[in-house]
Symmetry: C2
Subunit: 604 residues, 2 copies
């Protein structure tokens, strides 16, 4: 029976890639669902057949939870209008194909990054005075929202199915585990296609902001930072001290820099091979004991970190929202490389790396240990803005609101500017990549051929003593053919890392608007202090507490920025050195080859 599918987003085929252009709303017939690499072969109404990114289509089948899906989209409709529509749609549809119990995984959208890179600027949030929006919400705000638990739920009203799903029975859990891990054996969601989404331009990815938006906004626009600013309950969980360092407020850094190795991806399968998945081996440098994790575990960790630290610490999206190889092996290799990058970045963060959930992920003893840890982490109440309640500025004076605001503004300006700079570099690098792998080598090859061609003409002259020249000329020709190949392969050796690093930073920077947004909202709240006291909404002591907590939030932000800066300096130093080193080698090798070619000509 032939499977039909509905196109969710416009997709423009890249010439020569056997792709098929489709428009949103179009109905296509699936001709081959086992293409791999997140692609599916389909035929349109005009009978044209080609590859379409799996994420871009919705397979038409009876869905037990379709209504649930609709319910979800209704929820979404409650969101602030500035949440990119297609992305939120994606989030709903994405959950549907044959994964009934799959929780709505926010931001699991193939296009979310395209959206942002297509100018849907996360920064825009702050351009149309957030304060106004917040104070309006404030009026409608019921007094003293209770516990962190409530907040955690409120926090999730965008993807509220999520925690429940995790809190479901173990059996159920495993059930959807497999569904979710399913690789390519059906149109369902798979290891190898979440990351595709048909995105072509490498480094064009930008998956973060949407995800945080979905998590943050309900909290932000309704309960928001005041949840912490006015919280009465004592702080729960480990304290997060902030110290006065040379560069200003800093997190408490461990003596030993944690890191880990993500390696050895293995394809596992269950249910008689009907379902398969990729398992990565993660080995922390501390214990040096490898643990196995599937992609969904990384995603679970991401969810936990986002819930817990998201409003104080930008948590970059998992790589899968970003561009990857067209074929499965390539995809897996690339995803592993990027999971490694993501893990290393998390390891380098003093707060994250020392968190219980992260430690669990890196060094759980056995399946039971893992499951218990999971449950515990999912029940964690110190999430969202409540994380600030655990932050303790050590021996640092309270900051007045102007200082707090200045700092916040400064960070906003900087991250904004860097975001532009990084995107610019990615665009340029992208074009350079195309030229180095496209027209340039072709040209060197043609030069090489022209020399060799002339050489063989000369050989046909029948004139004596021709050999010396023709041999040298042929060698020169071959040299230019070699150079052509070197040119084509070079980007993988240098540009690749430059692009990957900037791509990582692009993702990281995409989180700042949300993180900084929480701070801006808090500042606005404190500013309204007097008014709120006057209208009897809060007491004077609550007002004082608010500004003290805003100061604490500011220290957290400053510590985080200083962490960002020191990492940035380290990363760019490293990647630029690596790039230039490879470039030097490249040009030296060419010079060397040409010197050899030159030496073969006899001086006369």
């Amino acid at each position: 029976m032939e499977t039909k599918a509905q196109v969710l987003y416009d997709f423009t085929a890249e010439p020569g890639n056997n792709e098929l252009s489709v428009r949103e709303g179009e109905t296509i017939t699936l001709t081959n669902q086992n293409v791999g690499g997140g692609w599916i072969e389909a035929k349109n109404s005009r009978g044209e057949v080609g590859l379409v990114p799996e994420d871009y289509i919705e397979i038409k089948q009876a869905q037990p939870f379709t209504s649930g899906g609709n319910a979800a989209s209704l929820d979404l409709s409650l969101f602030d209008s500035h949440i990119p529509a297609p992305a939120s749609t994606a989030q709903v549809d994405v959950a549907q194909p044959e994964t009934p119990v799959t929780p709505v995984t926010p931001g699991f959208s193939p296009t979310s990054h395209d959206e942002t890179s297509n100018g849907n600027d996360p920064w825009a949030v702050f351009d149309n005075n957030a304060s106004g929006g917040v104070s309006n919400n404030w009026a409608a705000q019921p007094e003293g929202t209770e516990t962190g638990k409530t907040s955690s739920n409120a926090w999730h009203s965008g993807g509220h199915v999520h925690p429940q799903a995790y809190q479901g029975a173990g059996a159920e859990d495993d059930e959807w585990d497999e569904e979710w891990d399913d690789v390519k054996s059906s149109g369902g969601y798979a290891e190898s296609e979440a990351g595709e989404g048909g995105a072509i331009n490498r480094g064009g990815a930008h998956g973060s902001s949407m995800k945080i938006a979905l998590n943050k906004f309900p909290g932000f626009s309704k309960s928001g930072p005041e949840l912490y600013l006015l919280s009465k309950q004592p702080a729960k969980g480990t304290k997060l001290p902030v110290y006065g360092g040379e560069v200003g407020p800093v997190w408490a850094y461990p003596d030993y820099q944690l890191d880990c190795v993500v390696a050895d991806p293995k394809k596992g399968s269950k249910m008689y091979g009907l379902k398969s998945y990729i398992e990565y081996q993660v080995t922390p440098t501390t214990t040096n004991k490898p643990v196995n994790h599937r992609y969904k575990h990384f995603d679970w960790l991401y969810e936990r970190l986002l819930d817990k630290f998201g409003s104080a610490i930008p948590i970059p999206c998992l790589p899968d929202k970003q561009v990857t190889g067209r074929f499965e092996e390539e995809f897996i290799k690339m995803r592993m490389e990027r999971l490694q990058g993501w893990m290393s970045r998390m390891c380098r963060h003093p707060v994250i790396s020392s968190s219980e959930v992260f430690q669990l992920f890196l060094s759980y003893k056995d399946e039971k240990d893992w499951k218990t840890g999971k449950r515990k982490a999912e029940k964690d109440e110190t999430v969202g803005v409540m994380i600030f309640s655990t932050i303790e500025p050590e021996g640092l004076p309270d900051l007045d609101l102007t200082e707090v605001e200045q700092k916040c503004e400064q960070f906003n300006r900087f991250t904004r500017a860097m975001d532009d700079g990084v995107k610019d570099l990615l665009t340029v690098g992208n074009e350079h990549w195309k030229r180095c792998t496209g027209p340039l080598p072709k040209e060197y090859q043609r030069i090489g051929k022209a020399f060799q061609n002339l050489s063989s003409v000369f050989t046909s002259s029948g004139y004596e003593g021709e050999a010396a020249l023709t041999d040298a000329l042929t060698a020169a020709g071959k040299t230019y053919e070699d150079i052509a190949q070197m040119v084509a392969e070079q980007p993988k050796k240098d540009l690749h890392f430059l692009m990957e690093t900037n791509n990582e930073y692009k993702g990281l920077l995409g989180c700042f608007p949300d993180t900084i947004g929480v701070h801006k909202a808090a500042i606005e709240k404190v500013k309204e202090g007097d008014k709120l006291v006057a209208t009897g909404k809060i007491t004077t002591s609550e007002k004082t507490a608010m500004s003290k907590r805003a100061s604490t939030m500011s220290y957290a932000l400053q510590a985080e920025m200083n962490h960002f800066h020191s990492n940035r300096i380290y990363d760019y130093n490293r990647v630029m050195q690596q790039y230039l080193e490879q470039q030097v080698k490249f040009y030296e090798m060419i010079a060397e080859k040409l010197r050899n070619a030159h030496s073969q000509f006899t001086t006369m």
Copy 2:
């Protein structure tokens, strides 16, 4: 009063060069005739203004010699159809604008090379069985055409005005001298535009065959080689021995290799600056005494060499038929460089360099000496095929017709193949030139800018200890901007000479079809020997003489080919070494610059 002009050939404007596209037959208005470099500013009927190559238009003015011009085109109409029409038209029109007494200078066509490069293949001559054509002509041929003088005239029936013009009174001579030298002060013919013709693609030039065609064809298709094969008069002029060398038959080479330096172009002017011209200083390595020559003198020499040696030795066109700079200085420099190349090639040729007319050109004592020499050279009777009468194979056995034919075929194949090879290399080189001066440097510049841009963003972070990175990043950015410039300037340092040499060879190879054509015609003639005897057209002894002379012609051709080969090997060895040497330097310099940039990053 505004000057109108008629467009002679289609011209497509190059974008960004302030040029104006015009179509053949279109009437344009000249808005500025003093643009220089062979360009004229004009306005079309739609009021669009831009530059048009002067050679492409005919200024509408009453022409005393218009009828003469028509007469000329009538003469041309007698030619074989495969002479490119526009070129011949050009040749006629070209003579017209305000140079009433100017002789019809054959091949003075701006487009002749475009014609050939546009696929009007000189080789085509031999594809539609020349022999047939020749024997037909033969039937119509009056018996035993007489002296070399007659032949010389017959030889000239294409540009027959020419010799007479030269043989005119001294006063008249000077008269048109000035006209002809006239630079840019009017729409008339000028130093700086004969070479232009708006041809854009460097190395695309190919001016030779047309010129030889115009000179040779009447002789070729009517009197042709039989003029020599059946000549009864004793050979006149210096003997040209051919010896058996290691590589086969060779010319007699002088002990001392003649060469000369073309330098120091001076703009002279006469008639109160109304007329001006460029004078080049030519200094032979023998006497080391400089003599001055204007372009027209080079052209005169070319004409003489072509008349005298053209059917035995390929005489490449003067550079002016080839692409040159857009602006006058650039043009003059380029023309000088190419005149130098042309002269050096002539100097290297044992037969040409030792010829009386060439010696005169290089080392005339004074104006009087020069004029007398000119007259004498113009009266030379041993021209056209009669040159073969002076060739004397020294101690070489007569070749039978099969050998003769084989050799001829072999040379034809080779020169044909090399012509293709050279054109191919020129095309590739041309594209590479464009890339190196266009998109590639732009890209490196953008990379450089992106780095510097990121660096200045970083500087704005306000984070301490940023300087080390930002300085290094800025330096890296500047380095890529330097590289951009290096890339853009490199072609002038290496590709230029590779292109020039191949361009020279393209011109040289373009002469072979004509030269070889003479031999093919002779072979056909000898083949008809028996038939001709049978029909009583020739005697048996004449037939014997014919085949002996065909053998002599073959020795001449072989000597010439061997000369060509040895020069070719030398030239390509030299130019490839030069090219690769510069390329090595280029890549080493880039590597060096990048090494410096790399060293500025602090290892952490």
